[in-house]
Amino acid sequence: MLESIVSYGLAIGAVYALIGITYNVMFSASRVFSFTAGMLGMLGGVLGALFIGKLGLPAIVGFVLVLACGAVIGVVTEIVAVRPVLKSIEQHLYVLSTLAFALLVQQLTAIEWGTEAQPFPRLIPIGSGWLDQQFWLPLLACAATIVGLEFLYRRTLVGRAFLAIAEDSYAARALGLPEQRLRLASFALAGVIGALAGFTGGEMLLAFFGNQSILSFYGFVPVALGGMGSNRGAVIGGLALGLFQQAANFLVGGIFAAVAVFVVFIAVLLLRPEGLAGATLSRRV
């Protein structure tokens, strides 16, 4: 039982963590929480099943295509749903515009792909039990993402520019950094990470349009727990959430596991609105 809690909990937790990172990457570049994070995860699964399962492309080609689609959708999100409302960010119109965009894509998926869960192809036919690909693939993706982001932020100029924009976009603009292009790039990157989450979690979650709302919510919980903008917080929060959810699943059963997660989420938010590891104080007047 413990083995099952740990292997499955970590795997699903890694997917949540990746969605959490997707929220964060978009947030850092634009101060916008976007409902599209869960949508990207859902699409990662659906597109993977479409390219590899339906169209029969080789797994690696399908994988690259899925990530590319994620990037494109990220860019479209920025142009359609984020850029137009950035000017008046204090009105929180982005909540509505990204929600609308995410719903749009979800409904389109429901209509074109169907409302039934469909199989996600098995990519690497080795390993079984807790060594099964569906368990280690999300963890691998999560680790690779963290290492990749760390490399990007610490070793490349573009990555540093992302950090600069996240910290002080005004000063970054004054320095001549191409803020708009960097924001687009961030959304593309978020698209890739979100799609990666959905793709690697595909075998667990199946290719199903309904995954969007699940991932939107459970992917946001790590962000709320770990503090917005903190990728480390998202990973820890995500894995903890996965384990907690799976343990609750074993101990109290499905319906009540969902209730338990919700209660913890609300409790943490009410007691520490800035997350367990974050602190923000902004001047209002």
Binding site: M1, S4, E116, Q246, N249
Partner: protein, 398 residues
């Protein structure tokens, strides 16, 4: 079939085509068409049943209209897609009964929508035929004009229980479902029935189908000593996960349950084909391959017909198509025999005896509007699926 809410299916090209709102009246003074209000779920989360039944329904309407209609009257099928949403089913039922003033309502095809629509149709005094299994959906006192041409949950469960207890001889059973209305209702009903038959329900649960990991529940079942798993759900993903988890746990236990266990969608979601072994789903004797590998004559003839008009059976189930086909014919026969007023139709059906459908023989009485026979509900071997039909499960005397 394209997604359209109100679609009028009205016979051959020469036939009188009248628009749903009565905007255009027939050019020639043809006899008034028989209006059948039809409430399938053609889109939305539980639409696969609807899509299957719809093929049979359309086939029957076309066939009848091509043959000149019923007593010279064409059948006009007025379709409102309920999208598997009870709210839309209520709006749809209102349109069919109040505005279109249809002669008969056919459907809804899913229980969740029927639960909301049946009382409304009854209030408007229009005869209704539906194939939904929830027991409370026929009640001669509350809904005197509502008939069911399919088994009740009671019959479905009883058949599965009989198979598990009497034929497979398993006494410790796990009964589970997803959290939908249909699923929870089934578990509620079947667990006590199993106990009555002398079996022990060692595990009973409603599992959130959105949760991808079923291992916790399956482990608990095994620890409880279950010798058979009876899942009740129309969710292919949920059922496939049960099969997959059983396979990966290398747990040799039969799975006996809902017909969706044998659907193509469930099959597609299996990780290995052999995970479909020792899975038995409900089916109906008339549309199963007998021991000799042949269908009964009535069904065989029907399959021939389907082949002829090139209706695909590969991605759906034969009994769904048959059910749709039978439903329309039952309605047409009533009108043909007595006329199309509500009393005439109800009166005719109330005396219907051994009406020979492809799907099953139907008998109604004024006190009993559940027309399906107990012994026609059987179990089948799901891995024998071909042309939308299955082999009868092992153990039945033919």
């Amino acid at each position: 079939m394209p997604i359209k809410r109100r679609q009028v299916l009205s016979g051959s090209a020469a036939g009188a085509l009248s628009l749903a709102g009565g905007l255009a009246s027939p050019a020639i003074a043809a006899p008034e068409p028989i209006k059948i209000g039809y409430l399938p779920a053609l889109t939305g989360p539980s639409s696969s049943t609807g899509i299957g039944i719809n093929r049979g329904t359309e086939l029957a309407v076309n066939e009848i209209n091509a043959a000149g209609g019923v007593n010279g009257r064409k059948i006009e099928l007025i379709v409102r897609d309920t999208q598997s949403d009870p709210t839309k089913a209520v709006n749809g039922a209102a349109e069919l009964t109040k505005r279109q003033k249809v002669n008969i309502v056919w459907g809804p095809l899913n229980s969740g929508e029927s639960l909301a629509a049946v009382p409304l149709v009854a209030r408007d005094g229009i005869p209704q035929l539906h194939p939904c299994w929830v027991d409370s959906l026929t009640d001669v006192k509350k809904y005197p004009m509502c008939f069911r041409d399919a088994p009740t949950n009671q019959q479905i469960g009883a058949a599965a229980n009989r198979y598990v207890v009497d034929i497979l001889k398993r006494k410790k059973v796990a009964v589970v479902s997803d959290t939908t209305g249909y699923g929870t209702a089934s578990v509620e009903a079947y667990a006590p029935m199993l106990k009555e038959k002398g079996a022990t329900v060692v595990y009973q649960a409603n599992i959130d189908a959105a949760n991808p990991d079923l291992k916790p529940d399956m482990l608990r079942m095994r620890e409880a000593g279950a010798e058979a798993i009876m899942p009740w759900s129309v969710n292919a993903g949920f059922l496939a996960r049960i099969c997959n988890t059983r396979g990966k746990m290398e747990w040799d236990v039969p799975i006996v349950g809902q017909t969706t266990l044998g659907s193509g969608q469930t099959k597609a979601l299996l990780e290995k084909p052999e995970y479909w072994n020792k899975v038995y789903s409900n089916n109906f004797r008339n549309v199963c391959f007998a021991k000799d590998g042949k269908l009964l004559p009535r069904a065989a003839e029907f399959v021939e017909k389907l082949r002829k008009v090139k209706i695909d059976m590969g991605d759906t189930l034969l009994w769904w198509i048959a059910l749709g086909y039978d439903g329309v014919h039952m309605m047409a026969d009533a009108v043909k025999a007595v006329g199309s007023s509500p009393e005439q139709i109800t009166g005719y059906w109330n005396k219907l005896k051994d009406w020979p459908g492809v799907y099953g023989d139907i008998t109604f009485t004024p006190q009993q509007h559940n027309g399906f026979q107990d012994d026609e509900v059987v179990m089948c071997e799901v891995n024998s699926l071909r042309d939308g039909a299955f082999n009868l499960a092992p153990g039945y005397a033919s």
